[in-house]
């Protein structure tokens, strides 16, 4: 057990204890504290003060990173016999100099090589130099803090008596003990993400005039404590990192109950850290409709979740494989998450190849790729990679700027508040509208079994025209007939309905036996609100689940009347699989008697 474990356990019990309080902190209704503002961070130190009769103090700040390898996470020592750690500069970070009363008297910022320099009045007094786990400048805006109800950053400190120009040497955040290296590694991954975006999207207005050239992302707060599992806030025991949409807060797994040696940790799992930062980017620079929640990375899931997670998986690979990243341990397009480290028992928690499907989260049917997170990741990866795909040169490489423009441009994009139920199908539509060049990406869409639109999920429909749809039920091994286990791709269709005027509406599903054999599938009708978490009762506004009559020529009807305010809704046609599976059904949807037919929201 680590020497610092008792302290960690104490800190963790305090955090858990705080999160357990049944009453909310003052001024906040959230008793978990996750969303509470907490005390303000200590003011950021950014003003440089000029002193007469001054001396120049210099120094260097670095952090130690444990590196992943095939067996897990490596050594904490730079000279470890096997899988040694690596030292990296602490970049863009706040440097704060305090006098003996604790008052800040000078500010500086670490350079790209970790060096810093500042002036102090020549004196024999002692000053404290802090290099802090936060940055707020033109390169990076982020704070790595302990907990939402505390908001304290981490510091490397050294004292100096400014009697003459001098160096205070190197301040090092280590990878063991208090493991401040973990906090500074998290900060540095955010810096790499910003560096990458500047390199690849810094001139995205050349792709679309509506795209704002990337300079620096808004401020994010990352909460991390060595040995602490942030899922404790939810009463969970499995080790988890997560992002809290709407709050610009991400929570990074520091270990479990004080342990980092054999438990899951994420502060050195750069795939996880950058993936979570990817969620922050979609929340702060464009938009996400992901319902969040559990996903094992190898299943058909809600396409909004598949998009959001697939984007995060891809973004980490794009950043860590970029030439500016410079860590050989991340030289392949993989998602790498480790458990434990070389001080305890370590293993690979998840390793997935983004270049080659290899049976993991690999779609079997055209259109299924829109419902699988790694199929989304692989498509996006194929847009930026320089290699060949499916044994042939796809002609597409290094086109991150197009992705970013499609996500962030001011209108007809993911950022556009007019768009709802955002998923990868929307990216395809936006990209096509933006460049009128859909054929260019078609090869990799096909390779990853994507539909080039939203026909399988959140197809926008309007009450005009004459149209019908079909659905063929599928027998899925994990489907026990419950709504919750229903296969979202094979046994469901989803349509986006926009209501412009509040009122009471009748939504009607008519269906009939396509083969006229009297064995039609049992279709049910659900109307969801805009958040539309599948099978979640509070999101289902109306539903009808009658049984078909099984008369060959009979028209089957499911109809609901529901009062809807102005807004966006998701109509779900669901195959009930708990009885006789049945065969293909042809159906129509009507709103107040008018057929709902596909229309284009992106035009």
């Amino acid at each position: 057990m680590l020497k610092s474990a008792p302290f960690m356990m104490f800190a963790i019990l305090i955090v858990v204890g705080c999160s357990k309080k049944t009453s909310a902190p003052t001024g906040c209704t959230d008793s978990t504290g996750l969303t509470c503002p907490g005390p303000a961070e200590v003011a950021y130190c950014s003003s440089t003060t000029a002193y007469s009769n001054s001396v120049t103090i210099t120094g260097t700040a670095q952090y130690i990173r444990r590196e992943p390898f095939a067996g897990g996470l490596g050594n904490a020592s730079l000279t470890g016999a096997t899988h040694p750690a690596q030292a990296y500069p602490i970049r863009y970070a706040e440097v704060r100099v305090l006098n003996s009363a604790g008052k800040p008297i000078q500010c500086a910022t670490t350079a790209t090589n970790g060096t810093f320099s500042f002036q102090l009045p020549k004196s024999s007094s002692t000053f404290t130099v802090q290099v802090n786990s936060r940055a707020f400048n033109s390169k990076l805006r982020a704070s790595v803090l302990d907990a939402p109800l505390s908001n304290k950053f981490y510091s490397l400190t050294k004292t100096v008596a400014p009697t003459a120009n001098k160096s205070i040497g190197t301040l090092t955040a280590t990878a063991s003990g208090a493991t401040l290296g973990g906090a500074f590694n998290i900060l540095d991954q955010f810096a790499f993400a910003n560096d990458y975006l500047r390199a690849k999207a810094g001139n995205c207005s050349a792709i679309s005039a509506q795209c704002t050239n990337f300079t620096v992302a808004p401020k994010v707060s990352a909460y991390w404590i060595a040995g602490f599992n942030p899922y404790s806030y939810y009463g969970g025991t499995s080790g988890v990192s997560f992002y809290l949409p709407g709050y610009s807060r991400l929570f990074i797994l520091g270990g479990i109950n004080g342990d980092m040696g054999s438990s899951d940790t994420d502060h050195y799992d750069n795939s996880v850290v950058i993936h979570e930062y990817g969620h922050f980017l979609e929340d702060s620079m464009f938009a996400s409709d992901s319902p969040g929640g559990f996903h094992n990375g190898n299943a058909v899931i809600d396409p909004r979740l598949a998009w959001s997670e697939g984007w995060g998986n891809f973004f980490q690979a794009a950043v860590t494989n970029w030439s500016g990243y410079g860590d050989a341990a991340y030289a392949t397009a993989e998602y790498i998450d480790t458990i434990g480290n070389a001080d305890g028992t370590s293993t690979v928690g998840l390793s997935v190849d983004l270049e080659t499907p290899d049976a993991y989260d690999e779609p079997d049917f055209q259109g299924e790729g829109n419902f699988r997170e790694f199929a989304v990741s692989r498509f996006l990866w194929d847009v930026v990679d320089t290699g060949t795909d499916a044994g042939a040169v796809d002609g597409i490489s290094d086109e991150f700027g197009r992705i970013w423009a499609a996500l962030t441009k001011s209108s007809l994009s993911f950022k556009d508040s007019n768009m709802k139920f955002r998923n990868v199908g929307l990216l395809h539509l936006v990209e096509n509208e933006m460049t009128s060049n859909m054929s260019t990406w078609n090869a990799i869409r096909t390779l990853n079994m994507h539909d080039p639109d939203q026909s399988e999920y959140a197809q926008y429909v309007r009450p005009s025209g004459n149209c019908s749809y079909t659905i063929t039920p599928a027998n899925i091994s994990t489907d026990d007939g419950s709504l919750d286990s229903s296969d979202l791709f094979r046994n469901n269709d989803f349509y986006h309905l926009r209501i412009a005027t509040a009122g009471t509406y009748t939504i009607r599903l008519d269906y009939e036996d396509a083969n006229a054999m009297g064995d039609v599938a049992d279709l049910d009708l659900y109307v969801y609100n805009e958040s539309a978490q599948f099978a979640v009762g509070s999101d289902i506004l109306a539903y009808k689940t009658s049984r078909p009559t099984q008369t060959p020529t009979a028209n089957q009807v499911e109809s609901v009347s529901v009062t809807l305010p102005k807004g966006d809704y998701l109509i779900n046609v669901n195959v009930f699989t708990g009885g006789i599976l049945g065969t293909e059904a042809e159906y129509t949807l009507k709103l107040n008697g008018s057929k709902l037919c596909p229309a284009n929201l992106v035009q």
Binding site: M1, M9, G17, K20, D30, T32, S232, Y234, G235, T237, S238, V240, F242, P245, I256, N257, G258, D259, S262, S263, E276, H279, S290, G293, F294, H295, G297, N298, A299, E309, N313, Y335, D337, I339, G340, G344, T347, V348, G349, L350, S351, D358, Y360, G481, S482, L483, Q533, A535, V536, G537, S538, D539, I540, Y543, S546, R547, S559, S561, G578, G579
Partner: protein
């Protein structure tokens, strides 16, 4: 004041009645409501369908992204009493789950100083994992320190070249306390969830 309160309650009640009437005419009701209305009006096949469809899920308190964790899950339970004193033997049972069919998974216990291994495989392979059916591995240990010690188990598997694993932890001194704290937090969260979703007009 009480008059105002009564008016509000009356309004809420009327809304609830109106809403219930609307639902009864147009929406199939959840199974509990079926029972309340009497089974005589419900076709047995309709009731069966409702039962298979199951209850709707509860929305999370704060929607949040979670890192992808792979199909394997593992948890540890002590079989019997936790070890009370040095020399006490205790049995740990690890339940290994997979959310998808898996041909095999390997497990490995990590036993720290202060805990003595007595019996049971420290490493091994589990075969034919099926969703919803946990495989159980068991180990017998002896407490050799008064300080809290953390026993871990790792379970790992693969699909093609993709690999995944899960870990679980047992604390020799603190586990009962930690479990109690976790349950307390969970109960608080569940109460908040119920509170935040109670007054819905629609279902």
């Amino acid at each position: 004041m009480s008059g105002q309160f009564s008016s509000v309650m009356m309004f809420v009640s009327l809304m609830a009645i109106a809403f219930a009437t609307n639902r009864a005419s147009e929406q199939t009701l959840p199974s509990e409501a079926h029972r309340a209305r009497g089974l005589a009006t419900v076709h047995p096949e309709d009731l069966r369908k409702k039962q298979i469809l199951g209850e709707f899920k509860t929305a999370p308190l704060f929607p949040h992204t979670l890192k992808v964790t792979g199909p394997l899950k593992v948890d540890i339970q002590v079989d019997g009493q936790p070890p009370a004193k040095i020399g006490a033997r205790f049995v740990l049972m690890a339940h290994v789950h997979s959310t998808q069919p898996l041909a095999s998974a390997q497990f490995k216990w990590a036993i720290p100083e202060g805990v003595r291994w007595i019996s049971g495989a420290q490493t091994g392979t589990l075969t034919d994992l099926e969703p919803g059916k946990a495989k159980i591995v068991q180990i017998v240990l002896e407490k050799a320190s008064v300080e809290n010690r953390q026993v871990h188990i790792h379970a790992q598997g693969a699909v093609g070249r993709s690999r995944f694993a899960a870990a679980a932890q047992y604390n020799t001194e603190l586990q009962t306390y930690l479990d109690r704290e976790q349950q307390s937090v969970k109960a608080g969260i569940e109460a908040l969830q119920k509170q935040s979703q109670r007054p819905k007009i629609h279902h």
